[in-house]
Symmetry: C2
Subunit: 456 residues, 2 copies
Amino acid sequence: MNNDDLLRPIDGADALTAPLAELNTADAVEYLNALDEAETTALLEALPLPRAVKILEQPELRHASELIAALPAERAAALLGQMADDRATDIFHELDEPDRQRLLWRLSAEARLSIQKLMRYPPNTAGALMTTEFVAVPTDWTVGRTLQYVREVERSRETVYAIYLLDPATRMLEQVVTMRRLITGQPDTPIMDVAQVNPPVGVDPLLDQEEVARLIRRHDLLAIPVVDPTGHILGIVTVDDILDALIAESTEDVQKFGGVEALDKPYMQIGFVEMIRKRAGWLSVLFLGEMLTASAMQHFEDELARAVVLTLFIPLIMSSGGNSGSQATSLVIRALALRELRLRDWWKVALRELPNGVVLGSILGVLAIIRIAVWQNAGLYNYGDHWQLVALTIGAALVGIVTFGSLSGSMLPFILQRLGFDPASASAPFVATLVDVTGLVIYFSIAAAILSGTLL
Amino acid sequence: MNNDDLLRPIDGADALTAPLAELNTADAVEYLNALDEAETTALLEALPLPRAVKILEQPELRHASELIAALPAERAAALLGQMADDRATDIFHELDEPDRQRLLWRLSAEARLSIQKLMRYPPNTAGALMTTEFVAVPTDWTVGRTLQYVREVERSRETVYAIYLLDPATRMLEQVVTMRRLITGQPDTPIMDVAQVNPPVGVDPLLDQEEVARLIRRHDLLAIPVVDPTGHILGIVTVDDILDALIAESTEDVQKFGGVEALDKPYMQIGFVEMIRKRAGWLSVLFLGEMLTASAMQHFEDELARAVVLTLFIPLIMSSGGNSGSQATSLVIRALALRELRLRDWWKVALRELPNGVVLGSILGVLAIIRIAVWQNAGLYNYGDHWQLVALTIGAALVGIVTFGSLSGSMLPFILQRLGFDPASASAPFVATLVDVTGLVIYFSIAAAILSGTLL
């Protein structure tokens, strides 16, 4: 670092940064989030560099890229250069192109190259999540030499609890040693003697973060190496990045299931126009799909005019189909995400959902028949002379529609996955719309079969 | 360990365990999951004890408690005694009472007491997740002495990467030292000199696991101490348990949002009756709520008979209200879970959702009016002499219903949280049902206002 004078806190900084002195990093981030941009920028300039770096490294700090852009370029570059490279990459991703270029060329060549490399990986992949700041030593070192090396480089590494052993000639990843094993080994023991027995689990840089999380969890790791096809280690993904990724992923899943495009930002930070854009798209698509219900109803216009009593139960019947579909979809989405189910298991699921749907539909059908009978006999409402047949129609329609809802709700995520989409795109509103149109046809077909000659 | 003869693999075991020899733990678990209970039990008996322990410690191993119950009591107790105590506690939780008692009394006094203590904490709390196998040393030790102690106890501790410093007199938790700092310190440095500056972040044993995850993530920890009200450390929750807990939690959230009771088991492992029970409850409750739509429709019977054209749009209008409500609910559920929003922010959300709803409703309203005008003028369908008024009714109803949907969908999670429920219980079907009933009333009121004197 050859610009030490720039990194020293500016005059009068003590008074400015006093409120932060007692706070840990997480609390300091919260404090800064409540200030406006000018105040936060002033503080980030006044704080000692290591403290400012720690604060900027928290993904919870809001508008980090705007703050970096607003800082003097020298200070911004110093901060970015000292930050963990994966987090610096995140910030570079959010910067405008002019700011990005302006700051990138002020970094050291090493930092610039590592950030440029990381920026090339698509978001939500192992490559985008990884840090290049890991510890690697040749396989022919001893425990003592490795430990000494770890002590020297510790400050610049994101984790030192997994040490990667490379072939001295080819530099290919051979083995992993945990810090636990390292500290319990004798100094003159060859490092390979304390390494794990099984070959290390590595991931491709393009692997999806959800899959990376699954592997980290499956093998109880604190970090997983990212390895290129030739067997060279590119970086590591640490468990704290995976925690953040999992939380972001589950936010996205709930939002998608609710029928919204993933927001990527906290609710209160989304602008009005952006919020409308994220919601209007799906809402309009579903609306256009749902317009088919109007067409279906037009088709049954005569039946509707002759038997208004049938109209009364349309919302009840259709919502039940949508609800049972939404249940089945949520179950299958998660089972697919957790690899409890594979694409090839679709028929097993269909064979379970079919009887499930019949039983659930029958339960609701019986409830509906009871309701109609009670209202009729208690004189609360007159469903007409053929009220028994009407009740039978409603009951039978519920069995049909709930079965159809369960079946199509459970198959939809499979179909999406088969077509190469995220099965979690199968939202509750999507399933409801799908079931609504078919539900109407089922309802009126059953009505025609049971009531023709009497009401119809 | 005084029963070494019991722990040695039985005769002929080599042939039996041969297929597992080459597999890492995660793969071995998958291999065992595909076998039947008798085969798996035989293998767990034949494997060397440490290997069998490692396999049983994986939460992915299915039917672990049944396997333990099926093993000879001595072997089962030896396995449970060697396992991480938090995982052994999970298995004890799932055992029947007779098996539980039978095995508990075969454990060493130490293991039994620690498991009995852990079993007392309610599920999904810090206490239930924690392990008592952590490293703690007095604050007056040196770096060298601590490191030597860690080397000695390493094998019996779940993590050694965080070392907890206790006051020598009161045994209260004073500070935390990370392994990173420990290995870089000089052997004769007092341990307190390498400890963190800020006091350690601790959690109450009854804190919810979601909150524990939030704190671990917020402070970038590998483990968090669980501390009783007197300041004594009871155990630690490690990041791998938090990963598992987060994944279980997000499965639960998606299932709840889909309107199913949380399954707690993989989809294909739930029995038929249990699956029906998990789904029929909510489905029936929603059905009974939705019956109010039939009552609402009965109330507007005259209007329906006079203007069948109004019926055609019922599914379209109602589903739009449900969809916009489901969007708003999913956004607010996640924002509350991530603490982006607090209970007191409800009015800010309401002030955002109101204009959002009006704009989204207007977009759909315009789409509906265009559709009616096109169909009418292209001769695809005749909406009657007053088709412009009908179109206006549908458009206005959409604005009203989508606004109501967004507003009530966004307020529902707040109301649930205020009443002490999990805001994530606000499922898409729940919101849809809520909006359906009111939506009908809005629709017919607007229709009455616009069409009275013409169609009505």
